[in-house]
């Protein structure tokens, strides 16, 4: 039996996340006030930093791009009933795949062939990386949470080993690969907008942001409009019913993990092909884990994930600005705010939902709904 906290669908999808976000911001503001800062000023600086300038906006969207990829990765696995904690490692492998392709062929291939090749290689390597835990879960019963976490460490070590011992140009001090040729660089926002005559400041924002939107659309279509997606969701929502329907859950587990890995691998395109132009150490920087928060906040729906990614992107970018602008305010405060948002939009959602349902019932005679 439910506890009576049944919200109308519109409130569940729209009002609830907004209210949760509001409560989180209030809690954050309270802490900001406690350490002797003016919450209003800090919030204003944060919003201004994230959205107030073309440059700030570009950074926000650049961070958001990465979070869309990792958030989608988490959500695809989640819909199949799997908790993929390995976004971090899969993203690293995506970058490695893209980078190796670029190192091998960028001198010879033109951009229109090079970039798709990098896309395919990043997805394939990340897919393969995620498929191993998928296989172990499906056929050997090793829990995917444990194995994906382990694979993060393996990926990170492998990356360091390859960069230090094999990919670093002879004599170079920095732990990074040689720079790719120009054909392996994704056009930046400045480039693209320049073509249509708009002057835009230089920033890491690049064409991957469009790829992120395409990926979100693709995930939506796959999950809710294809048989494969239907079956994947059936396995996740009710393994017993899926078995009854004759759906092979092991294959579905493999498929979900592979897709999830491929999506996480696209982070490599944003970072390696879009920004650095070479393979660097630790370019993922925790985005794999932020993806979990993004997926939770976005309620595992692509649209929600896109919105939550922008929010988290704004927090990253705006937070950095605040730390720069407001004396005595450190980045740790921004991390705390992120913590509150994750807490209120995931763990505490049901608490807020119950209160909200009661509030809505007080405000108007709720229509009697058949149960």
């Amino acid at each position: 039996m439910s506890t009576g906290a049944t919200l109308p669908r519109w409130a569940d999808l729209l009002l609830l996340p907004v209210v949760c976000l509001g409560v989180a911001l209030l809690a954050g503001a309270a802490v900001v006030a406690l350490v002797g800062q003016n919450p209003g000023e800090v919030m204003a600086a944060l919003v201004r930093g994230a959205f107030g300038t073309p440059r700030g906006l570009s950074y926000t969207l650049y961070y958001a791009t990465t979070f869309v990829f990792t958030g989608l990765a988490v959500s695809v696995a989640f819909h199949a009933g799997l908790f993929n904690i390995g976004g971090e490692g899969q993203a690293l492998m995506g970058g490695l795949g893209a980078g190796l392709a670029a190192l091998a062929w960028s001198a010879a291939l033109p951009a229109y062939a090079m970039l798709p090749a990098m896309l395919v290689c990043s997805m394939l390597l990340a897919m393969a990386w995620a498929a191993v835990p998928g296989y172990l879960q499906a056929y050997r019963g090793s829990h995917v949470v444990i194995t994906t976490i382990m694979f993060n460490f393996i990926a990170s070590s492998l990356m360091a080993y390859l960069l230090v011992n094999h990919l670093r140009p002879r004599g170079a001090m920095a732990v990074e690969s040689a720079a790719f040729a120009e054909s392996a660089r994704l056009p930046s926002a400045r480039d693209v907008l320049g073509w249509i005559g708009v002057d835009w400041p230089a920033s890491p924002l690049n064409a991957s942001v469009l790829l992120a939107l395409l990926a979100a659309l693709g995930v939506y279509l796959f999950l809710w409009h294809t048989r494969g997606g239907y079956r994947l969701r059936a396995v996740g929502a009710s393994p017993g019913a899926a078995e009854y329907a004759g759906i092979r859950s092991r294959r579905t587990t493999m498929l979900a993990m592979a897709l999830s890995g491929a999506l996480a691998g696209l982070v490599g395109i944003n970072e390696v092909a879009g920004v650095s132009g070479k393979i660097v150490l630790d370019f993922v920087g925790g985005a794999g884990f932020t993806g979990i928060a993004v997926a939770l906040m976005g309620r595992n729906h692509p649209l929600g994930i896109v919105l939550a990614s922008v929010l988290f992107g704004a927090l990253f970018q705006g937070g950095a600005e605040v730390a720069f602008d407001v004396p005595g305010f450190t980045r740790d405060m921004v991390v705390m705010l992120q913590g509150f948002i994750v807490l209120f939009s995931s763990a505490m959602t049901y608490l807020v939902a119950a209160l909200l349902a009661r509030l809505l019932r007080l405000l108007g005679p709720a229509k009697v709904r058949h149960g």
Partner: protein, 518 residues
């Protein structure tokens, strides 16, 4: 049977339980609406009603699982507030749940002691508990092997252990929730003997059930609930099965035996031979099962739950593979090495209404229109080139709901939001909609209200009359007797007997179910 408790002094004793004006609302559902309940001391009091009538909610309020929105409770004349099960136990109220609350890997003794250890040192505590329990067993006639692991005890023993556990904690009022659901007719009689003895020793017993025969046999008084309200409360001397059934449903109900007219024997469409299946632990679940299903007949599989019926359904539907045996399904032959899978089974015209509706038949989180194509998402009506056709799915669901009277008629509502009966109608609509040649049905009316039961029976008979071969597994003997043309009885994974419906009585079936010879 007398409604008056034995002994003159007890007649003036306060009521064991008195609940007044109990209201309990779940969202928009009023589960208890101004319910009054009066249970006299040292009586057996039956509470009957359909599923969803509010019996369980009322007892959950009494046992402290839920708080009532309004109303008061008195126990033995004292007003009490019951916030947790602990409060209820402190007031002398004990509950035996339908699904036993026992730890399989502990001994019977440890299970009784769990949570009520009389001291820090377990060894000494065990000795003290053992002494008290043995005295209790002597006094009540409830005997259980105290050192056996609960996992190794028979179902009847586990139930006795649950009752002992409640009595050990000082229960003077014992609530039993559908206690006979898992028992053979013989075990039921035994249980009733124990309950009568407990009553005579002064324990008050509240029996929640929907089996009216049992109410007539055991109870002193009965309260009938319908749609969250009490519609009748009367001593058993004034009650009759017909009257109670009518009060429960609110109208006359006809669920008779099927006509005993002899039907022409159709062709065999499903033939299973020497099926043998073990579970993951290597325990034999099916052994030497031979089964023929013919066109146009309903074959009932009777048996106490857990005697291989579920495994039989799983094996025949392709959900599980047997270790040995063979199956002829229409033109196709399967051996244990290459067994059929659920998709192949469907393609061969075998439909399956599974026992566990919530875990198997529907994806509870899916909207009805998504659950309504489960297992059939490959049909061109529902998908083309890998893309789902949402409109086709919704249209099909709407017409299924129309044909099978699924309420509310809302294809976009989540599957979990429908009542048990309406979920089952949706499953039947989906499975029968494919015009199967063989239909496997498990517990078709479990958790389904009486009105829907009538409808489901009509549908199953219609399938049979249309030439479908139906295999019906049910733990309700009445259901087997009402629907079947032929009955097989399973006991410990084997076929204990096969009878024509004309030779079936509850006594003969009960004996076979318990492992005796016919």
């Amino acid at each position: 049977m007398s409604a008056e408790p034995a002994g003159g002094a007890a007649a003036q004793a306060p009521d064991a339980v008195r609940m007044r004006g109990i209201h309990k609302r779940f969202g928009s559902v009023l589960a208890n609406d101004d319910v009054d309940l009066r249970v006299r001391s040292a009586t057996v009091h039956g509470i009957v009603g359909e599923n969803g009538a509010g019996k369980s909610t009322l007892m959950s309020v009494l046992y402290g699982f839920y708080q009532a929105d309004a109303g008061s409770i008195e126990v033995f004349g004292t007003p009490v507030k019951i916030r947790h099960a602990d409060d209820a136990i402190a007031q002398g109220i004990g509950m035996v749940h339908q699904h036993f609350m026992l730890v399989d890997t502990l001994t019977a003794l440890d299970n009784v002691m769990l949570g009520a250890e009389p001291g820090w040192l377990l060894g000494r505590a065990q000795q003290r508990v053992r002494v008290r329990l043995e005295a209790l067993m002597q006094a009540t006639g409830l005997h259980v092997r105290l050192d056996a692991l609960v996992g190794a005890l028979a179902v009847g023993d586990r139930q006795r252990l649950e009752i002992l556990k409640a009595l050990y904690r000082g229960a003077r009022v014992l609530i039993l929730d559908e206690p006979t659901a898992v028992l053979t007719p013989q075990e039921t009689l035994q249980l009733f003997g124990v309950l009568r003895q407990l009553r005579d020793q002064g324990t008050t017993i509240v029996l929640i059930t929907h089996k009216l025969k049992e109410v007539m046999a055991l109870c002193d008084e009965v309260t009938v609930m319908r749609a969250g309200r009490v519609v009748q409360a009367l001593p058993i001397a004034q009650a009759s099965i017909e009257g109670l059934a009518q009060a429960m449903v609110g109208r006359k109900v006809q669920i008779g035996r099927s006509s005993s007219a002899v039907r022409p024997r159709g062709e065999v469409v499903l033939q299973a031979r020497a099926l043998q299946a073990r579970d993951a632990l290597g325990v034999v679940r099916l052994e030497g099962i031979d089964l023929d299903l013919r066109e146009g007949e309903i074959v009932g599989v009777a048996g106490v739950s857990g005697n291989g019926q579920s495994e039989l359904l799983d094996v025949l539907s392709g959900l599980a593979r047997p270790q040995a045996g063979s199956l002829q399904l229409g033109p196709a032959h399967f051996g244990a090495q290459r067994w059929l899978d659920p998709q192949t089974a469907r393609a061969l015209g075998l439909a399956h209404v599974p026992e566990d509706r919530q875990a198997r038949a529907l994806v509870m989180d899916f909207a009805a229109w998504e659950s309504a194509v489960l297992g059939y998402d490959h049909l061109p009506r529902y998908a083309r080139h890998g893309w789902m056709r949402h409109r086709g799915m919704r249209v099909a669901t709407a017409s299924m709901m129309e044909q099978f009277d699924v309420r509310p008629r809302n294809p976009t509502l989540a599957s979990s939001k429908f009542s048990g009966g309406n979920q089952q109608k949706l499953v039947l609509a989906r499975e029968l909609g494919q015009a199967p040649r063989v239909l496997l049905v498990g517990q078709p009316t479990r958790g389904v209200d009486i009105g829907a039961i009538e409808f489901i029976y009509i549908q199953l008979r219609a399938m049979r009359d249309a030439g479908c071969a139906v295999l019906l597994v049910s733990s309700e003997l009445d259901e087997i007797l009402a629907l079947s043309d032929r009955v097989v009885v399973m006991h410990q994974g084997r076929m204990a007997g096969a009878l024509a419906i004309a030779d079936c009585t509850e006594a003969t079936l009960g004996l076979l179910m318990a492992g005796g010879a016919a």
